[in-house]
Every structure is written in structure tokens, then in C-alpha cells.
């Protein structure tokens, strides 16, 4: 299904990433596609650009993909992952400046109604201090 914006969760922790995705699926429902990644390839804490790219590709839709991140490297690596996407996809993927769990639930709720990517991002970012 591709008539809703997809969500990607990027955390330093695989458990947090999975838990956040579980919350979104249970609270919002299955109409929004969601992918997650967390941890480095060695199984420790961290984020990994190829894994983020894989997550984006998994739920890719021309409608767009909103990425929710936790701290520091999750954000910079997500931005790097977006940069490495094919040019035609780059403009349809955004990293939201929002708390990871709350932002993911808000973004998915908005996405479930069919809203465009800029609106989904705006709703996720409503919670962020400006």
C-alpha cells in the first residue's frame, strides 16, 4: 500500500527502534508502513548508514518517508543515508526534528489520514521546542 507516507525509526538501540515501531503499529494501526533499524553491525549501540538505507527502501513510497531519530549520530547518519538515495527519491524523504517515540506516533497518526509528507513532518515537529 502506498497511499500513505511511510515511517522509518532510527535509534542507537535495536530494542528502542523495535519498541517504537511496535507502539506505532499497535496504537495507530497497520495502514502506515513502518521500518526500523538500530544498533551497529557488531550488535552494539549505534547507527549504520547502509541499514538506514535498507529501512528506507523497505517502506519506500512516492508519497514519501518520514524518519524519526533519537540522538546525534542517528540524525547525521540518517541525513547521510538520505543523501545517498537516488536523486529522484531524495526529495521525498525527510528527517523529522521530533522526539522519537512521540514523533513517530504523531507522524503515523497524521500519515494514516493520507496527509502529504510536509504535513506529516509538521505534525511530528509540533512537539519540538523551536
Amino acid at each position: 500500500m502506498s497511499d500513505t507516507v511511510s515511517i522509518v525509526i532510527v535509534s542507537h538501540s535495536q530494542d528502542i527502534a523495535k519498541g517504537t515501531a511496535d507502539m506505532v503499529r499497535q496504537m495507530v494501526g497497520k495502514e502506515v508502513n513502518i521500518a526500523f533499524c538500530g544498533g551497529n553491525p557488531d550488535g552494539g549501540l549505534g547507527t549504520d548508514v547502509p541499514r538506514i538505507i535498507d529501512a528506507i527502501e523497505t517502506v519506500w513510497t512516492p508519497k514519501g518517508v518520514a524518519i524519526l531519530v533519537d540522538l546525534g549520530g542517528a540524525e547525521t547518519n540518517s541525513e547521510m543515508a538520505v543523501e545517498m538515495l537516488p536523486p529522484e527519491r531524495r526529495n521525498c524523504v525527510v528527517v523529522c526534528n521530533a522526539p522519537i517515540v512521540e514523533g513517530a506516533v504523531m507522524a503515523a497518526t497524521e500519515a494514516a489520514g493520507g496527509s502529504p509528507l510536509d504535513k506529516v513532518r509538521a505534525v511530528a515537529e509540533e512537539l519540538s521546542p523551536s
Partner: protein, 114 residues
């Protein structure tokens, strides 16, 4: 008040004064054990967004009306258990919107397969 009484108490008051634009109003008692917390808020917002009408809601007596299509605003209203929620909708599907929202709250936010 038990659940059945509360459901019966929920009421829908169509307002037929305005012919150019449908306006519907309704109110219902919030039954949920801990009030309008995260999951009910998500369900309410998802439902509200299925209607094109402009919709407003508030806890009865509150000064401000909020947009139920904004999940952050629904969560932020922190409606408590047993409070009365008022809805008002304007637009082509106003009656259906208020009826559906009142039903969702009256039925205590049932899980659906949607």
C-alpha cells in the same frame, strides 16, 4: 453511572437552522478509565480525519475548542474520565462526523481492524 446508562445519555443534537452549510452538534460522556490518553486520542483523530467537515471539540464548559484532527491537541486537552465531550462539525458530512465521533467515545474506543 454504569456504561449502558452513559451510552444512552450520549446524545446527538442536529442543528437544522443553517441550510447553506450543515452544522451538527453532539455530546457524550467520556468513559475511559484514565480519560483521553494516547490510544483513545489516536483513534479519535484517525476517525475525525476521515471526514471533510471542519470539526471542533472541547470538554463541556472549557473556553477553548480544539481541532480533533490534530492528535497533539486531543492529547493536550487531557480530558478526564466522566467528563462530557462536546463536538461541533460544519460541512457536507457534519452529521455523520459528529455521529461517528460520539459513537466512538460512547463505545469507549473499541479496537477495530481498520
Amino acid at each position: 453511572m454504569d456504561k449502558k446508562q452513559a451510552v444512552l445519555k450520549s446524545k446527538l443534537m442536529p442543528d437544522s437552522l443553517n441550510s447553506a452549510e450543515d452544522i451538527a452538534k453532539g455530546s457524550v460522556q467520556l468513559l475511559h478509565a484514565v480519560g483521553m490518553h494516547a490510544r483513545p486520542a489516536v483513534k479519535l483523530t484517525k476517525l475525525a480525519k476521515r471526514f471533510e467537515s471542519q470539526i471542533a471539540m472541547r470538554v463541556a464548559g472549557a473556553v477553548d475548542w480544539i481541532d480533533p484532527k490534530s492528535v497533539t491537541k486531543v492529547m493536550a486537552m487531557r480530558a478526564a474520565r466522566d467528563s462530557i465531550i462536546e463536538f461541533e462539525a460544519r460541512g457536507a458530512d457534519a452529521q455523520a462526523a459528529v455521529a461517528a465521533l460520539v459513537r466512538l467515545v460512547a463505545q469507549d474506543f473499541p479496537d477495530t481492524s481498520r
